[in-house]
Symmetry: C2
Subunit: 343 residues, 2 copies
């Protein structure tokens, strides 16, 4: 055993098959000298892919055989009961046993959530996990949660999301006092539903750098580091943003292929368009953290290619380096203790 | 009195002053030969502006004097009680009295909602008004409601929004059987909160062309005509989309001004960039309908310039031509009658 960060990869999750995961693993080993990767899945298939890439004997790469696969349409309950030998389950088990510092899966989100919660358990004081992702902003990036782990959230839970998000940003971005905003339908204190208003009052009295209510367009404007909302609102917001990005990309393609002259202009503009595309590329934002668990679980988008999956591995490494669950645990514990002292 | 469509304009609402409204009015009269406009507000100020534009005696333009103005930070209750002589109130009164077929205001949304509801009343069978706007999509446009008139909505109310949205699209776009979708955090029937699921069941049994749950990115993908959600979710979704559009515009500006060469490329690309900008221009989507009232009220964005305000006038004309409130009323009445027959 070394001091490397060990990351278990669910090689069989995701829509594009194990090839993508193996390729992402090989890329990531070259990129980061301080990681060890465990490919969890069918050892014959993975072995063949490694041979193809001439990586049969990489010292920091190992295979952990799994006989089952969680399907994209498996109900969480079914995955939990009947897929105990799945690549997803075994990858999470490795984290539980301490054999891995983190795991990454591109599989079925519901099954991943349920399995991770069952195997790893929640941190004390945290009710539910929250899906957290990074959204590009004008001057950097914003972290947003929950993006769909929960349909709803009580004020207490929104408050917990805020603590988790703030710790994550401090840990992985080194921002010492991240600005936390509550997503609402207006910035005025009288707007919004009771849930959001109650959570706002709790945040005002907390040790977090709470900046108040923020609106949908603030997510990308760069004036907030952590945007907190329930899973329904977060999921709709995230997907609405993705939809507009797709729309604008479509418009651009149409404009730049409209005529021979337009195509010529597009050719001349190519370096600029490519640079823009890179900045907007969703693959560079792939990898959502399931926060609140006693362990690091990163969800990669189901349709990820190897570039996107490698980004999720990068995030897993970063969270392992900074031991995010322990930091959240400590923050919550401190808060609970100070509450006890008051009461 | 003629057969023209008469539209009352709240000349004093909006952040940019009466000049914008007067200019938009003059433009619109040139554009549409079948409208008459009533400028409601300070007659001296409006008169001066008309003189400046050499339009003192336009046969289809009149001034209706108002002594008060609803401020942007007026609480709805205050506007209702203490601003009975405001340009906003008088414009709505003109609709109530039948002197106008529709009104447009760029003023305080809360005050406009409250005043419109108080003066015009709701249509029978409709509980609450809903703010409806047009969102560009890959192959046309999508109508979305509610965008923030209500913080929350019961299943019954989501159902009413669906009926109103469908009638609007049929009326103004001539789409005979518009596709209606319920905004949710996933397309599977088991996802989402109870409210959305219950509304989904009601829509399945209705005479509407209900296509099921849609997600945030479906709004712009062109496969749905009417997207229904509560005001909180709708407002966050709309603003999230606006935020990404701003982000991408910022990225483009940065890329195309990065160097002398980039500026040259930008110059060559100018016609394409302008065409793109036009398609994305939020001014061309300005004008949200307050549906569910016994009269047509269009909310123009507070920061609208004359191009944007003119678009809101265009929408008011279209709804007046097609008598949208009467159509919604008829649809709801038919539904209520068929329910009576069943029970």
């Amino acid at each position: 055993m070394t001091d490397n960060y060990r990351i278990a990869l669910d090689a069989m999750g995701g829509d594009l098959g194990h090839g993508v995961v193996v390729e992402a693993a090989v890329k990531s080993l070259t990129r980061f000298a301080d990681i060890e990767l465990i490919l969890v899945g069918d050892e014959t298939l993975i072995g063949k892919e490694l041979s193809r890439l001439k990586q049969d004997n990489h010292s920091r790469l190992s295979i952990h055989h799994a006989t089952q696969v969680v399907d994209m349409d498996d109900e969480p309950r079914n995955a939990l009961r009947n897929k105990k030998g799945s690549s997803m389950r075994l990858a999470i088990n490795l984290v539980k046993e301490g054999a891995a510092n983190a795991c990454v899966s591109g599989g079925n989100t519901g099954a991943l959530m349920a399995t991770a919660k069952f195997v790893l358990k929640m941190l004390p004081g945290i009710d539910r996990p929250a899906i957290t992702a990074t959204i590009p902003s004008i001057n950097g990036q914003t972290h947003m949660l929950d993006l769909g782990a929960n349909v709803d959230a009580l004020p207490d839970q929104l408050f917990q999301f805020a603590v988790m998000g703030a710790e994550l940003v401090t840990a992985v971005e080194g921002v010492s006092n991240p600005r936390v905003g509550l997503l609402n339908m207006g910035q005025e204190a009288f707007k919004g539903n009771d849930k959001v208003k109650d959570a706002g009052r709790m945040l005002e009295e907390s040790d977090l750098n709470y900046i108040g209510f923020v609106e949908g367009d603030d997510i990308t404007m760069g004036d907030v580091d952590v945007v907190v909302c329930d899973g329904f609102v977060g999921n709709v917001s995230l997907k609405s943003m993705e939809g507009v990005a797709k729309l604008i990309t479509t418009y651009m393609k149409e404009e730049f292929t409209r005529s021979l002259l337009a195509r010529l202009v597009a050719f001349i503009s190519l370096p600029l368009l490519k640079s823009m595309k890179r900045r907007m590329d969703p693959r560079n934002y792939n990898g959502a953290s399931l926060l609140g668990l006693q362990g690091i679980v990163i969800k990669s988008h189901g349709g990820s290619d190897s570039v996107a999956f490698a980004n999720a591995i990068k995030i897993a490494r970063l969270e392992a380096m900074n031991n995010v669950p322990a930091r959240i645990d400590k923050h919550i514990e401190t808060m609970l203790n100070s509450q006890k002292e008051i009461s």
